[in-house]
């Protein structure tokens, strides 16, 4: 762990974080969701000023979304993954666009692909998709293959290559 990371863990003690070490320059800090914004604020002020990515993981079995903020320290190369879990059935969180203005676009993307609302970020127009008519596509219960089959017709081949391959090689499933 680099100096700045041990300092960060020290500073964040009061938030009762759950700290996991991924490798010697990367840790994951899990927090309850009311403490995330203030923790990010603290981390930004002690040198983790570069926001690499905001992303989301859909833990459908736990009925939760996990939001991950990846912060980077330009001084000694420490990376911190700040993670929190929010309810999947009514996904809502608070924006961090005041801390990092570029977060607006990451949040807009997450809203588009996962359907999470960010309070305070009013620009939630679709960014990548146009005239999307289904549930947010990155959710685990969305099946792109079915959608593709319905909407985009395939070319019909006279020879069923996959079937022949199966006869030749046997079933191929992980």
């Amino acid at each position: 762990m680099t100096n700045s990371m041990s300092k960060a863990v020290e500073v964040l003690k009061s938030f009762n974080p759950f700290v996991e070490e991924i490798d010697d320059r990367e840790i994951k800090i899990s927090l309850s969701n009311d403490k995330v914004i203030s923790a990010l604020d603290v981390l930004k002020s002690i040198g983790f000023s570069h926001l690499s990515l905001i992303t989301c993981v859909d833990w459908i079995d736990d009925n939760q979304f996990e939001l991950v903020y990846i912060l980077f320290n330009w001084e000694d190369g420490g990376k911190i993954l700040v993670s929190t879990r929010i309810d999947r059935s009514n996904p809502k969180f608070i924006t961090v666009k005041e801390l990092w203005p570029v977060a607006r676009f990451y949040e807009r993307e997450i809203h588009e692909f996962f359907g999470i609302e960010f309070e305070g970020n009013d620009d939630m127009r679709p960014l990548f998709l146009e005239l999307w008519d289904e549930k947010p596509p990155m959710r685990k219960d969305f099946d792109p293959s079915k959608y593709s089959k319905e909407k985009f017709p395939d070319r019909k081949y006279e020879k069923d290559v996959i079937k022949e391959a199966k006869i030749f090689r046997g079933e191929i499933n992980g």
């Binding site: 990515l53 992303t55 993981v57 990846i70 980077f72 993954l81 607006r104 293959s145 992980g174």
Partner: protein, 368 residues
């Protein structure tokens, strides 16, 4: 004269890739601008969840077209972090060589790409022709010109033969000998100076606030390079400098790319010298079929310094044979979306294409 609405792209010769900027102009001055990405959205992150760990190797190079190797490297490094794999030493050196070659290829096409918007087509022709020599190395090494699928979790796919090493030495000498011509044709050209110097300035505060990485931030005078700050592979074992500039304008950004070419040549030469001879270039990562390969539970973020800045993969595994979630941090995400909206107003129509070219806005990695 009132405001006129203009659609800069997607079908526009000044556009790099398939991207669009909608803007209102008054005279030649841009008043408001809004990026419109999504023309290259293929749903990569979803598709990766549906494929096996190793069949994703065919998919990921397609995320960033000008420099595909960084995707493979990030993905492999992410998996190695989770699974705690030890990569053979020779494979690490080969990866470094491949990544630096890819950086050079991208810089050469970027220098050519600046030639397009300002009308210096000779620069485009030279840059693309010299990039082709690097693609020839890739073809000899990996069998493909553009999408290599060469760096795999646990090493690289195939060993580098002495003939290919010889070829790399030769091409490095050739490109080094061409650098003077580039300097004379492009970077001493006074019309080019008048087009680029002092235009599209992005100060250090603005760049840091926005999260710009790569030459965008190094043009403001700080040595922020992930190869130095957070060394991966063996970048801490080779000597190289991180060129910086203080003007923070379009010219210094292009010039830094040009300067990095000679640093990349230096790194590749050192790597070729220091690389140990060995036949072991990858660890067998699975027992039996590669499709049954399983990565233990965990998550990791691996990032590297691509030609355009910080490029990262966030990989989550739930211990099954497919990735649970992969998220990609495109290097040009901040400058391509936030930067266009915030910093293009006030510039001229001619500068829009230059912003895209000098900031290396790469549409496929924004859209994914």
């Amino acid at each position: 004269m009132g405001e006129v609405k203009l659609f800069f792209g997607p079908n526009h010769p000044g556009m790099h890739g398939n991207f669009s900027v909608h803007m209102y102009v008054e005279g030649d001055i841009v008043k408001r601008a809004r990026p419109l990405p999504g023309f290259l959205h293929r749903g990569f992150e979803k598709l990766m969840e549906r494929r096996y760990w190793l069949s994703n190797l065919a998919l990921i190079p397609r995320i960033c077209v000008p420099e595909p190797d960084i995707n493979e490297a990030c993905y492999a490094m992410g998996i190695e972090k989770i699974a705690k794999l030890d990569v053979p030493e020779r494979a690490q050196w080969i990866r470094m060589i491949v990544l630096e070659l890819a950086r050079m290829a991208n810089h050469l096409s970027a220098i050519g790409g600046v030639g397009g918007p300002i009308g210096l087509y000779t620069a485009s022709h030279w840059g693309t022709a010299d990039r082709d020599r690097i693609l020839d190395i890739f073809e000899a090494l990996t069998g493909a010109r553009v999408y290599h699928m060469y760096i795999i979790p646990g090493g690289v796919r195939k060993n580098m033969t002495p003939q290919i090493e010889e070829m790399i030495w030769k091409v490095m000498d050739y490109i080094e000998s061409r650098l003077d011509d580039y300097e004379n044709l492009i970077f001493k050209n006074r019309i080019l100076h008048s087009r680029l110097k002092g235009r599209l300035v992005l100060t250090r505060e603005q760049a840091l606030e926005m999260g710009v990485t790569g030459v965008g931030i190094r043009a403001t005078g700080v040595e922020y390079d992930i190869r130095k700050v957070d060394p991966y592979l063996f970048y801490d074992k080779v000597e190289f400098e991180v060129p910086t500039a203080t003007d923070a304008d379009a010219f210094s950004r292009v010039y830094l790319k040009f300067k990095e070419l000679s640093q990349s040549i230096k790194i590749i030469r050192q790597a070729l010298e220091k690389m140990p001879q060995s036949d072991k270039v990858n660890v067998p990562i699975s027992k039996g079929s590669a499709l049954r390969h399983v990565v233990p539970k965990g998550m990791a973020y691996a990032h590297i310094e691509s030609a355009r800045g910080e490029f990262g993969f966030f990989v989550v595994s739930d211990g099954k044979n497919k990735p649970y979630r992969v998220a990609v941090r495109g290097a040009s995400y901040p400058q391509g979306l936030y930067g266009i909206e915030k910093y293009l107003p006030g510039t001229r129509i001619e500068d829009v294409a230059l912003w895209l070219a000098t900031m290396d806005v790469c549409a496929p990695e924004i859209d994914r």
